[in-house]
Amino acid sequence: MTINLAAAAAGEQLGDAAVLNAAHVDVTYKVRGAGRLAVRDVSFQIGRQESFGLVGESGCGKTTMALAITRYLPRNGAVSAGSISVAGQDVASLGRSALREMRARTVSMVYQEPGRALNPSMRVGRQVAEVFEIAGVSRADAAGRAEEALRRVQIADPGRVLRSYPHQLSGGMLQRVVIAMALAAEPSLLILDEPTTALDATVEAEILELVAGLREEFSTAILFISHNLAVIAKMCERVGVMYAGELVEQGPARQVFEQPAHPYTVGLLRCIPRRGQRKDHGRLDSIPGFLPGPGEVATGCVFAPRCALADHRCATQAPPAYPAGPARTARCYYHEQAPGLPRNTPAEVSLPAASAGQPLISLRGVGKTFTVRAERVHALADVDLDLYQGETLGLVGESGSGKTTLARILVGLTAPDAGSVVSLDGVQLGPVAARRSRDQLRAMQIVFQNPDSALNRRHTVRRLISRPLAKLAGLSGPAAETALLDLLRSVRMEPRQLGLRPAQLSGGLKQRVAIARAFAGRPRVLVCDEPTSALDVSVQAAILNLLADLQASQRVTYLFISHDLGVVRYLADRIAVLYLGRVMEYGNAEDVFTGPHHPYTEALLSAVPSLDGSPPERIALTGEIPSAATPPSGCVFHTRCPRRLPSGICESTEPPLAEAGNGHLMRCHIPAAELRELQRTGHERRDEG
């Protein structure tokens, strides 16, 4: 069993029909004279019309691989071994004009942020037409072809879009335009690099469906790069899992995700919250240790330092790619034992239940109107919420739903409109932090989404944590030192890390420092504003468990904000769903997830790709999220609601938040019982899956 054997097996399968053939590719970056291997011995092939997914955490070399294929590597990077050929042509040997030809006709690439792929000062129409002109279409015909191209990516009103400037269009619309441009030359390979990562769940679902449809229509092969395993599972027939520059496992997507054969894949899958998993039951696991730094060369298996199955051989001798089933390979000596990888953390823990009684925090009639260029934007309207001691309230919503505004109002960073009431223990709080007492400030702290912005980059970890200890907890001298070390231990960090500055810490460690800082004053309520959305899944799992453990030991209440339903389901006891600044649904987590759901929640749930069996049929939302400056009349969701009533009541009257039993509230004209009936068919299918 050698590397060649496995590669030969894959090659046999595809033969000469491969659109892309990467064989033993190494990519090296030269940094100050020294070479650093970013991709090591990666081999895979993509057949005609096949969809291949490359999955892995940040820094694993996915994007580098895509850049190598298109020869867009930065000046200090080069393919230092192996070869890449696209449609039978060796990419490395292409001359200037042949390379241009390849990029224009054979391979197209779509990036994460559509807004940055388009020129902001040119109308969309000109930019799309330009692509056709480069492909040899006359200027006069190009405009017509542009319109046709937009129609093919299901843009209903191509004329308007072509006349617009990029900033006038939504992210989903821009990504459609970029995809239309990428497909203009009918390439044989389309590379999509995290194409939906910057988009909302409902928009992501639309784009994924569009890509799947276009693949059939254009008969193009797809290289789909993503950190999101569920998206890859949905979109790709075959998948390659990358870790630290190596392709550790590849095979049919379904098989790889259901019966992973590499310990890294096993560990990664255990980090993703699935249905049925909760903070105390069937806990997420984490991968011990940390990624090798850039340029660190492993003598043995790259994953060995973090692998519970690793032995002496793994540490000294790199494993070849073993065939692990038909058309599957895994770079692991123990690929047969991989599914039984021992857990790193216990699966079951007992957490104290939240206490009922008096709400700790209550919000009544909270609204916020921003004035943006003489336009009044209603970010939040009439929000009533309660938080009880020791519970987690999950706040879910797409971008622009007012989640972050609500968080900032709660802690006093943004003043709500007059008439809004935020109270702590029944005592009304001042509108902004400056008008609250130090005890009130101390009671409520926040963990921000982006730790790079949340931590002062000039301060050391010691200074970052001890300042709130002095200021909020009033500690000094030896007591402060003890408290500092306790806090550090509680977020699983070590005293030797006290002297480091944020730039020396990874994303996960930075977020731990931010959490330690937030806990310094022993808060009673902690607002977590998307604390894990900037982190990789394996780091996210560890942070989520840390938050759950801290809640148990400190009896703190969380307002946990996230756009990720899986994460909220894992952590939250109760859930509020926001849409255009209004609470659409509010109740116990279990009730919200099992239904009956508000039609918006239902659409949201069906939009998220999942690793749990076959996904429910997607409830497609029509149209775009309306602007908060001009919210729709009646029910704000009626413009996109698939269950809009024919009577016209949805357009004219805003429904109240009505009780659906067990404190489950829904803002819908359709009675809960009827919704349950309507949604039952979907559930039955889901339960079977």
């Binding site: 580098t64 930065p74 990077g77 790079d452 500055r501 730039a503 460690l509």
Partner: protein, 321 residues
């Protein structure tokens, strides 16, 4: 530790890591850098500083600038002992003598050795210019922090004062002050410092505006920190780079301004050796062919300004990337 919870060892150098170089990809490919994730911003702060110093010391621009500046500093400190003649008392026998073996740069209309005066002339300008720039930078930083952090009415009022102060050319403003306060060295420092403070306040304000909306400032507000502490302990260290650049750039302007004022007769008083003053005293003899009396002080001014600007450029290139 769990997951990707790693520190980045000082040697790993992710700051200039594999993907830090801008890839040659088409518009909109921010993804390349995003692949490196948060680690892309990494690298030891101390190591970064050491590296920046190293980068400066390797930069030819900086080396040339620093050598010229060092030469003039040496002249300012010991200029009088280098030169063979007294820069203040001339010899009438030598008046308007052309450059010769005895007087390399010739002698001026009062028979004073031009070389001696050029060497000695470095002193006052190299005392006044840095002091004025330091004063301007300090006051400007405070103003910039206050206007940028508080914004609102404070910003508007100070902003209008800045506009008013900058409406006139520096030299005219300086004239007004010198006429009103009398032509002393202290006046010169205060006047130039005042005008520079207005300019520097603007730059600092812009940098502060970018910082004040970051979450670490919000976190400080949520633990009841005072405005002064947020400005000076939280924000100031993060805007230090632009301030340092501004200081070096302004220093060049200060030298130029002082020389101009001296030339116009409002700067350093005669008979103290001074480049601007010497040019003023000699330029009318150019027509008579006594070029050396004007050329050498002029070259001195030019070389010092160029040296400071070379340093400013290289500092900017290293600090602001």
């Amino acid at each position: 530790m769990d997951g990707d919870d790693r520190e980045l060892p000082a040697g790993s150098g992710a700051a200039d890591g594999v993907l830090a170089a801008t890839p040659a990809v088409p518009a909109g490919s921010g993804q390349a850098a995003a692949g490196a994730g948060p680690a892309a911003a990494a690298g030891s702060a101390r190591r970064v500083r050491r590296e920046q110093t190293g980068q400066l010391l390797r930069s030819p621009t900086f080396i040339v600038g620093a050598l010229i500046l060092l030469w003039w500093v040496a002249c300012a400190v010991g200029g009088r002992s280098f030169s063979a003649y007294n820069p203040v008392n001339g010899s009438l026998a030598q008046f308007n003598a052309p450059p010769s073996a005895a007087h390399w740069f010739g002698a001026d209309s009062l028979g004073r050795d031009v070389l001696s005066r050029v060497l000695a002339g470095a002193r006052d300008i190299l005392i006044i210019a840095p002091l004025a720039t330091l004063l301007g930078t300090t006051v400007g930083t405070v103003l910039g922090l206050i206007t940028g952090y508080y914004r609102g009415a404070v910003d508007s009022v100070i902003g209008r004062i800045v506009d008013a102060g900058l409406a006139l050319p520096v030299v005219i403003t300086a004239f007004l002050f010198i006429v009103a306060l009398g032509p002393t060295t202290l006046t010169l420092i205060v006047v130039i410092g005042f005008v520079f403070a207005l300019l520097i306040a603007r730059t600092v304000r812009t940098a502060v505006l970018q910082e004040r909306d970051l979450d670490y400032v919000a976190a400080a507000r949520l633990r009841d920190e005072s405005g002064a502490r947020i400005m000076f302990a939280e924000i100031l260290p993060n805007v230090f780079g632009p301030i340092l650049v501004e200081f070096t750039v302004r220093l060049g302007y200060a030298i130029f301004t002082i020389a101009t004022l001296s030339f116009l007769g409002f700067g350093i008083r005669p008979p103290t050796p001074d480049w601007g003053g010497d040019i003023a005293g000699s330029y009318q003899y150019l027509a008579a062919g006594y070029w050396w009396e004007t050329l050498f002080p002029a070259l001195a001014i030019a070389s010092l300004v160029v040296a400071v600007n070379l340093i400013a450029d290289s500092v900017e290139a290293v600090l602001i990337q």
